[in-house]
Amino acid sequence: MKIVVKLNGRNREWEAAPGATLLSVLRDGPQEPRMTSVKRGCETGDCGACTVLLDGQPVNSCVVAAARAHGHAVTTIEGLAGDPLMTALQAALVEHAAVQCGYCSPGMLVSLYHLLKECRAAGTTPGDHAIREALSGNLCRCTGYVKPVAAATAVAATLAAVGRAEAGAR
């Protein structure tokens, strides 16, 4: 079947099997370029390695029909390269040594990006609980969670400081 999506800001036409998952179409094609940041882990919605944004909301692409994306916007890490918030999160993960094999990293980054974006829109700063909740769908087998949480906390604190400075300048 034909599926028309806005992938990372650009209109695309996919040819996909009716029973295909969003994960399989993004990662395996047949259309190029393949979004290899979207990892295949459990394929049961548990590990979060396949997390992408569907209309700005995080979804596990392994339990979402590719056809569900028809007429909608899909965002992967590839589409957020160079985005200042994403860049800050990536740098923080590296700085806090939160990346070992890195298989979980794209999914974690999508989840954290969504959280911080949502908080920024609401003018709030996520606390420890909100960060852990946002990461609750992302399993990491190497690093664990303390370092990713610390990295996100650091970025959230920076954003809050920037927000205060901007408010002060106005």
Binding site: T21, V64, S111
Partner: protein, 298 residues
């Protein structure tokens, strides 16, 4: 890979049912797909119901709450209309399901139509007198949620579409609390209990005790409810609550499995029912299920 011949996208409720009935072969509705992709059923086509206008959440003029079948668990967890209804019992149940990305697409309709004995929204909805609205090609039906489930993974639907759920605003307002015991936070529940009481001055009006994971279908403990319903609050002393809890424990039909024994589940129905009744009567509306593991309940 799920071998489907066709993915049909419906644009209205009528069209969805017509697409389902049209054949050829066997079809299933798909909402979030979070249950379907885990265990894809053998079928020829699916009918996508995410674009038929069933995602709405609304309060009616008389205070009832309507939740469309395609409303997502994230919307239900966060919508002020739901968090503000009956102490947030239903939104707390939704907030507990799965993880954030799953809740983006998973729907209330899928949770109920999948009809697992452990469906996490079922006890909260049963405790608030939920009514199901069901559509066929040229007819509509409504029935109480307790008549909706006919067995594990079986419902009354038979090709019809669940359109939504309505919860009645008890005249005095519901006071409610719920608990869910699990081995770990992400595991299927061992025992779920939800209690809702309508407090009418110095009396209990309607009383609801709903149980999950302890019978072939989510159920109400109606004999236990009868012991509490209409009673003066002053008469509901600890002995009376213990009696009601013991009756609830007798009403359920749990099984032994690798998660827990039937005996343990039955015992916990009693313990949780007693504690929840006491905490609701004491005015607490604790609806944070699932954060406790065994032993830490209520």
């Amino acid at each position: 890979m799920w071998e489907l011949k066709e993915y049909r996208i419906a644009g209205s409720i009528g069209e969805a049912v017509a697409m389902m009935r049209r054949g050829p072969g066997k079809g299933v509705y798909i909402a979030g797909g979070t249950d379907l992709f885990l265990f894809p059923p053998a079928c020829d086509y699916v009918v996508d119901i995410n674009h038929v206008g069933m995602s709405n959440i609304a309060r009616t003029p008389d205070g009832d709450l309507f939740i469309g079948a395609a409303a997502t668990l994230h919307d239900i967890a966060t919508c002020p209309l739901v968090t503000g209804f009956a102490g947030g019992l239903v939104s707390a149940a939704a907030a507990h399901c799965g993880n954030r990305p799953v809740r983006t697409t998973a729907t209330i309709g899928g949770n109920l139509c999948n009809a697992l004995p452990s469906a996490d929204l079922a006890p909260a909805l049963l405790a608030l007198d939920a009514v199901c609205y069901i559509a066929d090609e040229d007819s509509q039906e409504s029935l109480p949620l307790e008549e909706f489930f006919t067995g594990p993974r079986r419902t009354v639907l038979d090709g019809r579409l669940l359109v939504g759920i309505a919860l009645s605003a008890a005249s005095g307002g519901w006071r409610a609390a719920a608990r869910r015991l699990t081995r770990s936070a992400e595991d299927i529940a061992l025992v779920q209990v939800a209690v809702a009481l309508e407090i009418d001055g110095d009396r209990v009006g309607a009383a609801r005790i709903a149980l999950g994971s302890v019978a072939p279908v989510p159920m109400r403990a109606m004999l236990a409810e009868a012991l509490v319903e209409g009673e003066l609050i002053a008469n509901l002393d600890p002995d009376r609550l213990a009696d009601a809890a013991a009756i609830a424990a007798g009403e359920c039909e749990p099984i032994d499995d690798h998660r827990a024994s039937a005996e343990y589940r039955r015992e916990m129905v009693g313990v949780l029912t007693r504690r929840l009744l006491a905490s609701v009567l004491a005015g607490s509306t604790d609806t944070s299920p699932g954060t406790d593991n065994e032993g830490g309940a209520a």
